[in-house]
Symmetry: C2
Subunit: 255 residues, 2 copies
Amino acid sequence: MSLGPGSSEHLTPRAAEALHEAEVVVGYKTYVGLVAGLVQGKDIRASGMRKEIDRCREALDLALQGRRVALVSGGDAGIYGMAGLVFDLCRAHGVTVRDGREEAKDSSDALPVEVIPGVAAFNAAASLLGAPLMHDFAAVSLSDHLTPWEIIERRLEAAAEADFVIAIYNPRSATRPDGLDRARSILLRHRPGDTPVGVVHKAMRDGQRCLLTTLEGLDPEDVDMQTVLLVGNSHTYVWNGWMVTPRGYLDKYGT
Amino acid sequence: MSLGPGSSEHLTPRAAEALHEAEVVVGYKTYVGLVAGLVQGKDIRASGMRKEIDRCREALDLALQGRRVALVSGGDAGIYGMAGLVFDLCRAHGVTVRDGREEAKDSSDALPVEVIPGVAAFNAAASLLGAPLMHDFAAVSLSDHLTPWEIIERRLEAAAEADFVIAIYNPRSATRPDGLDRARSILLRHRPGDTPVGVVHKAMRDGQRCLLTTLEGLDPEDVDMQTVLLVGNSHTYVWNGWMVTPRGYLDKYGT
């Protein structure tokens, strides 16, 4: 299930209800901490980074024992979150999954799973910047932990070439200090140096920081793994401190 | 502000609060209808399709008169929604906009605007299908109302070539009956005919319909403007009725 960006203002009622109903809450400790107030007294299983498979396996084991489990993801569980791994593991281990939104059929011993959507990190980031994602966009993670760097480069190249707005996830980590610079070089082959870039750190939670810069001006020191970058397309403008990608209404119809 | 996919279960508390605070609610009639129960007794200005500029201008006029206005969008207002047009029009008419989340500075007569994010249509659609958007993805609208068809084709081509999962918005309309077939032909140049495609109609509201098919099997009759299509990448699988794009955890670490 999805926690949204962090603030309870953007946690959906369905997600809040699922937390309330859960007996066990499993998740990355930072995300579990975001909803500490909502899960007091529950069986909490919080763990650190890179423990995704362990967490997911634990959640499945508990659910197969008949416990009601909330496996939490920051942002949207279906976007670079935990939802996929649940299905991957069930498939690998022959655990049949049924839609948890529906009543069980009499004879079914399948595991009920409900993927609860949420406000994704880039939706939250975009809303703080203005309206940068109004037109076709691509989301690319710079993490080469599971994806070969060549594929990441190819996607950046394609997205830049076809003039997508680009949301960059996991833009920088200690193990890949030069990834962001390499990504920028690719984008600069297709876009001018003054292309607007929104840098949003911890959107809608404590420590939130937003800034507007350009492809050329982007300082990697302003970026870490909790940052989302939004890179404008050829029509994106910055006005009065807002970053906006027009869809083209005014070009077509006037003001 | 964003209404999310439709059901109040997925309307964020901040969005509900904004509706509650508003004196006037402006929006496309279908979306205003989704929250009819929350806006009773308010001044409602609902209008039809293709009236985006009129709606937005009306909302701004009212706000400039000092009224508290909620301009509603389905899904996320920042993704193919109304947020961009607000800034476009303010910029064109020299109306300074300040961040409505912050207290007014003493001397400011700028218009306070808050973009309230929401659960976008493709987040909702993905959660119903399983976890198809777990890896890099591109969102492309097939509407050529404001965007030249050549640009749409170029984006489809780039996204397909670089193996993005692709979310297709506005896949079909009466005025472009062949757009979807042309889009499919482009995708089929880069992906096999058995590539999974999720077809989600009215996600999380009355009339919801989900089906899984393939690029080759996709029947345009199942698709209209209220449908979102999710086209898998080369790793996307269908299992037990679920559509999932793995990030690669199990390939790297085993099960």
